[in-house]
């Protein structure tokens, strides 16, 4: 940068980062589902772009100025109702983010202009569709698929031509159902991207050297999850920067690279979106967590390492007052967990002192396809999700033992803690003494056996959310409609494990 203000480059980059983050956030809220432009939001965006352009001009960054200028033109057209151009605003932000990234990496060398952003919608420009309408269509398609399959079954062997036609109809409807479900999915990278400027700015303020890495950005998840994940992720990233990672000198002294890394990752497993926030910082100090928990009156005797770490989610444990005691694993992790559980999700933590911490967030994917196995418990059909690694096995009914209040069955040379399927249904006398099959549930690193009467068949099912007014037990993450029209509850392994002693 040849500007007389070159010494302000770091300040400019930090400012621009938070401005771009704000524009991206505002762009999401700019147009309502019904297609109306929010005038206040648009005004804010225009002001931010204008400031950005002015600062970039001061820094002699013509390429950034050009993109910002094009974005201002887009705002004028959006104001006059061309709402299809909002995506181009986001594209402009992306271009500036990558220009500024190159600028930082090159130590101030001016970025080359990139291709100009178009002020015309792409030919394949998307259409805004009310999300609820999409959801209803998806449900109807699922119902039609099921009915067609049922009619095809009834006609089997009666009329070959009709049977073939019905089979084609079933296939077409299934494709329709799947396409509708896909329309709800967006890459989680959209959410991850919003943390890039934040991490740069927060690290600068704290004089830390923190890099953000992402993986699984192309993981497609339901759009509703983006909204549900933003706050909890922001909280965890903020905590990691503020308290999780060491200063560069501390890191070098500990034999680590001077720059710390915060990694965001995503994948789908067992019909749930699993999102991880990891840092390679100082890790959680279990001794300090134990001490703090004792002060709060928690019985920590006999708790194993992973269970001690999970104490950080207790209300009052990870408060600001305890920051120094527990390696500063931040404010209100109980609030993060509460936000996730209210959305049917959960959070788990792994940590090694000196090596870092990983939080794993999981959420049921609305209207996602869940892979599972149908089981029968007390006459009720349930879906036990599985990821294909482990399924069901028989066991001797008399082999269930209770050790320290936990039911277990032998597994190889060890013991597998088990949950009785009846207890999930709220049935009394649920010790599972009469059950003959055990299905292994997995939630993060935790495994539990689910004791059931019969194992029916594996399959893929469309997961439906239930109305909260039904107050269904948290042990179930949703329902599926089976081929025969019956409804089956889907066991949520995370919540089901939380319902019994660990």
């Amino acid at each position: 940068v040849s500007s007389p203000f070159a010494h302000l480059l770091e300040d400019f980059l930090a400012d621009a980062g938070s401005t771009l983050e704000r524009i991206l956030e505002d762009a999401e809220a700019l147009v309502s589902p019904s297609g109306t432009v929010d005038g206040d939001v648009l005004l804010r965006i225009r002001r931010d772009i204008h400031t950005l352009k002015g600062n970039a001009s001061m820094m002699d960054l013509d390429a950034v100025v050009a993109v910002a200028h094009a974005m201002e033109d887009l705002c004028v057209r959006i104001e006059s109702g061309d709402t299809g151009l909002v995506g181009r605003i986001v594209e402009g932000c992306d271009q500036i983010v990558s220009m500024l990234g190159r600028l930082r990496d090159s130590g101030g060398a001016k970025p080359e202009p990139t291709r100009p952003i178009s002020n015309r919608p792409r030919v394949d420009e998307s259409v805004r569709v009310d999300f609820l309408a999409l959801e209803r269509l998806g449900n109807l398609a699922a119902e039609a698929t099921m009915l067609a399959r049922s009619v095809a079954g009834a006609m089997r062997g009666r009329d070959t031509q009709l049977e073939e036609d019905l089979s084609s109809l079933s296939t077409a409807l299934r494709v329709l159902r799947d396409r509708l479900a896909e329309m709800r999915l967006v890459p989680i990278g959209r959410l991850f991207r919003r943390f890039e400027p934040y991490v740069r700015e927060a690290a600068r303020v704290r004089d830390a050297d923190v890099r953000l890495s992402t993986s699984g950005s192309d993981t497609l998840i339901d759009k509703t999850l983006i909204d549900r994940l933003h706050e909890p992720l922001l909280h965890l990233v903020r905590n990691a920067i503020a308290h999780g990672v060491e200063t560069p000198s501390e890191r070098v002294a500990a034999g680590k690279p001077a720059h710390a890394t915060i990694a965001l990752g995503a994948r789908i497993s067992q019909g749930r979106a699993l999102v991880t926030v990891s840092d390679d910082g100082r890790g959680l100090q279990t001794a300090a967590i134990r001490a703090r928990a004792r002060l709060l009156g928690v019985d920590v005797e006999g708790l194993g390492g992973p269970d001690v770490l999970r104490l950080v989610f207790l209300p009052g444990l990870s408060t600001a007052a305890s920051v120094s005691e527990i390696a500063g694993r931040g404010v209100g992790l109980d609030a993060v967990r509460a936000a996730l559980t209210s959305a049917g999700g959960d959070i788990d933590v792994r940590s090694a002192e000196g090596f870092g911490t990983t939080f794993e967030l999981s959420l049921p994917v609305a209207a996602a396809v869940v892979r599972g196995i149908l089981v029968e418990v007390n006459g009720e059909t349930l879906v036990a999700p599985f990821d294909g690694l482990e399924t069901a096995r028989p066991f001797e009914p008399g082999s269930v033992k209770r050790i320290d209040g936990i039911d277990v069955v032998p597994e190889g040379a060890g013991l597998l803690p088990v949950i009785d399927g009846g207890s999930l249904l709220g049935d009394a006398d649920a010790r599972g003494t009469g059950r003959r099959m055990c299905v292994v549930l997995q939630a993060g690193q935790r495994r539990r056996g689910l004791l059931v009467d019969r194992v029916l068949e594996p399959g893929e099912f469309v997961l439906r959310r239930l109305d909260l007014r039904l107050q269904v037990s948290r042990s179930f993450g949703g329902v599926v409609v089976l081929g025969n029209g019956r409804v089956a509850l889907v066991v949520d392994p995370h919540a089901a494990m939380g319902a019994v002693p660990s």
Binding site: R136, G138, N139, L140, A141, A142, E143, A144, E380, T381, L424, L425, G426, R464, L466, D467, R469, L470, Q471, V472, S473, R474, S475, F476, V479, V481, G485, R486, V487, A488, L489
Partner: protein, 143 residues
């Protein structure tokens, strides 16, 4: 004369009615899945046009006896917005008729005390005194 159209039905010895605008469709009772954790009046889950309905036993909900869902007249009234995730289980649908709105009276205090705030009004004919229900309250205040 202002007319209102009501779906009349019987559940657990009670004569009940819902405004026709609150009912999407009347369907036969299918197999119900259990709803662990739900209030006692929610007796199961049933699939309906691609969605899943929580089934409220109108008899139990209003403090009476439960409906016999195996009776030949048993039906589910699939409710409309804002209660579209619910269906009301009854033992018989008595009819769907236009009623002179002036014949609807406020529910007597003792009826409100007995059945709660989900009774919106009452009307009486030669057959019975019909309690006209508010669908949203029926599902929201479900004890």
């Amino acid at each position: 004369v202002t007319l209102v159209r009501l779906v009349r039905f019987r559940a657990g010895d009670l004569a009940l009615a819902l405004g026709v605008e609150q009912v999407r469709e009347v369907v036969r009772v299918r197999d119900l899945a259990r709803v662990p954790g739900a209030p006692p009046a929610i007796v199961g889950l049933m699939s309906f046009r691609g969605s899943v309905l929580g089934i409220v036993d109108a008899g139990l909900r209003l403090g009476g006896r439960s409906c016999d869902r195996t009776s030949s007249g048993a039906r589910v009234l699939a409710l409309d917005h804002p209660a579209e995730s619910f269906g009301v289980l009854c033992e018989e649908v008595a009819g769907c008729d236009w009623i002179d709105a002036s014949k609807l009276a406020n529910p007597p205090v003792q009826l409100v005390e007995r059945h709660g705030s989900c009774v919106r009004s009452v009307f009486t004919d030669t057959a019975a005194q019909w309690l006209v229900l508010d669908a949203a309250r029926l599902v929201e205040a479900s004890p």
